[in-house]
């Protein structure tokens, strides 16, 4: 096979040029709310947590909401299996995130910001707090009334779901709320809240630094800009890479595979497994069905080579989901358990192969009836693995 390494368009925005944050902040808070919102909307930046909601629209809705008190929250509850980019951003360029939060505060009229940091990343807290105090000091000198506090999570994947995150911050079980109302209107403490993924805020910084056009010119239609990819599994070069959106999976595997790639999991355990025969037709971006649906994080790319059993992979995902389901709604609570028990029964021969059809129907029911993205997205990996590697589930 030809090695088309030039096909992947690498970029280097996120981890570069953090030092001019003071200038960027001072300059942008002098611009009008409307101008900033328009800039963000015309960049076509979409949420980098995985759900892909247009960021500019989020800010606009919150700006239009009427309330004395509003909040800006940075979602750093990075928990999707195979995702580790947000930690890197907060370790290496925290001021970009803080600056974007403050600009957001200026746009929507919020004076308080929070970073919801997952418990597993506690070791980041002290350096992040140091950055926050330096940041707040500077805000005072330019007469910007904006503060940031860290709120620590305690080991619950579901709290990456935005409304579960609000519940958690309010001192409750991390159980997702019904939507609507959406966070932009009624979020934390039922106040209008902008909640953005860490990486989304870092891209907003890029846009406010270089202008919307520079960002828009990268990527492809509907999937503008760059994205951080967390690459792991059977690859000679695991790590974090910033790439332009819209690449084909063939090009990705040619660059990152070990020559024996059997399948790639795109979007973590809540995303899709793509078998080799589909690499060529699969592009990475928001328009295709491949990344837009997975909810909690984006950019997880896990490679599996021919030595891996897809049964073991699915077993591992289902064990993850049954432990991390909040248990609030029945389709997800019972469904995750039953899928997990079900594939074991098929594998052991206790149930015959036709039982897989029942399980597929169950996962589809979960997709339609679960309350939040967790239960809705279990079917993504479940059906893509069972349908493409059926024989591995049985024998």
């Amino acid at each position: 096979m030809m090695n088309n390494t030039n096909q992947l368009k690498r970029a280097d925005f996120i981890f570069k040029n953090e030092n001019d944050w003071k200038e960027i902040l001072a300059k942008n808070i002098k611009r009008s709310q409307q101008v900033l919102i328009n800039e963000l909307i015309s960049s076509e930046l979409k949420g980098r947590g995985g759900a892909g909601f247009p960021t500019g629209l989020k800010w606009k809705l919150s700006a239009e909401a009427e309330s004395e008190i509003k909040y800006v929250i940075c979602n750093a509850d990075e928990g999707e299996p195979g995702t580790f980019k947000d930690r890197e951003i907060l370790s290496l360029v925290p001021f970009k995130v803080l600056t974007a939060m403050a600009i957001c505060g200026h746009v929507v009229g919020a004076k308080e910001g929070f970073i919801y940091l997952r418990g597993e990343y506690f070791f980041l807290k002290s350096s992040l707090n140091q950055a926050i105090s330096e940041f707040e000091e500077y805000c005072k000198t330019i007469h910007l009334d904006f503060s940031v506090k860290i709120f620590m999570g305690s080991g619950a994947y579901i709290c990456g779901e935005e409304t579960a995150l609000f519940e958690s911050m309010e001192g409750k079980r991390g159980e997702p709320r019904n939507k609507p109302p959406y966070p932009a209107i009624s979020g934390y403490m039922n106040k209008p809240t902008v909640i953005n993924n860490v990486e989304t805020l870092a891209h907003a910084y890029t846009i406010f630094t270089y202008g919307a056009k520079r960002f828009y010119d990268l990527g492809v239609q509907y999937s503008r800009g760059t994205k951080l990819f967390s690459v792991s599994g059977d690859t000679p070069k695991p790590g974090i890479y910033e790439l332009e959106l819209g690449m084909s999976l063939t090009d990705f595997v040619n660059d990152f595979g070990d020559g024996d790639t059997k399948a790639v999991q795109v979007g973590g355990a809540s995303g899709f497994l793509v078998p080799r025969k589909r690499f060529a037709e699969t592009n990475i971006g928001y328009q295709g069905k491949l990344t837009g649906i997975s909810l909690p994080t984006g950019g997880s790319m896990m490679l599996f080579n021919s030595s891996r059993s897809m049964y073991n992979v699915l077993d591992n995902y289902l064990e993850f989901f049954r432990e991390e389901s909040c248990g609030q709604c029945t389709p997800c609570r019972v469904g995750c358990q039953q899928l997990w028990i079900g594939i074991k029964a098929v594998k052991s021969g206790e149930k015959n192969a036709l039982y897989l059809e029942k399980l597929l129907r169950l996962s589809e029911t979960m997709q339609w009836t679960s309350k939040c993205g967790l239960g809705q997205s279990v079917a993504n990996s479940f059906s893509s693995i069972v349908e493409n590697f059926r024989e591995e589930m049985i024998y």
Partner: protein, 162 residues
């Protein structure tokens, strides 16, 4: 007042008594006492003037809020897909062999507890584990033994590192 009650009173003074402060208070009690006893949960409920079942409901939701007495060092080995593929079981065996405890158990001297956990966010450096708040990556059985020896030595000296 016993020490636990005093601790909780102080924490409530420090963080405030609104419901929003429940999680930070629970986290601080776990940090100090290594778990949430029934008594602590009831005391917290009284301080915040909410029902004890609300505190219990919240506390038992989060996997890092233990309600069983844990050792001084809590080892959490990542069991999610990449770590599992890259030799998590060998790491567990090395720990079990060295500390003579199974998953979910605590050494009799109360130094170590061994748990498994979901994705720690270091898949590119698998396999990984947390010991209290510190991450150890690209583990091998040799490396694990070395790390644990360091903690054992610390525990022997009675060094206070928290």
């Amino acid at each position: 007042m016993d020490t636990s009650t005093t601790l909780i009173k102080n924490l409530a003074d420090q963080y405030g008594r609104s419901r929003n402060n429940l999680l930070p208070i629970l986290q601080s009690v776990v940090k100090q006492e290594k778990y949430l006893s029934e008594l602590s949960m009831i005391t917290i409920a009284k301080e915040l003037d909410i029902s004890a079942s609300e505190v219990y409901g919240t506390a038992t939701f989060y996997s890092f809020l233990e309600h069983q007495k844990m050792g001084r060092y809590i080892i959490r080995v990542c069991k999610t897909i990449t770590c599992s593929m890259k030799g998590k079981n060998q790491i567990l065996l090395a720990i079990q062999d060295m500390l003579k405890i199974d998953i979910g158990e605590t050494t009799p001297d109360g130094t170590f507890s061994l748990l498994q956990t979901n994705c720690l966010g270091f898949c590119h450096k698998a396999p990984t584990m947390l010991i209290n708040n510190d991450v150890y990556t690209e583990l091998t059985p040799e490396k694990v033994r070395e790390v644990l020896s360091g903690y054992l030595a610390k525990a022997k000296e009675g060094e206070n590192d928290e």
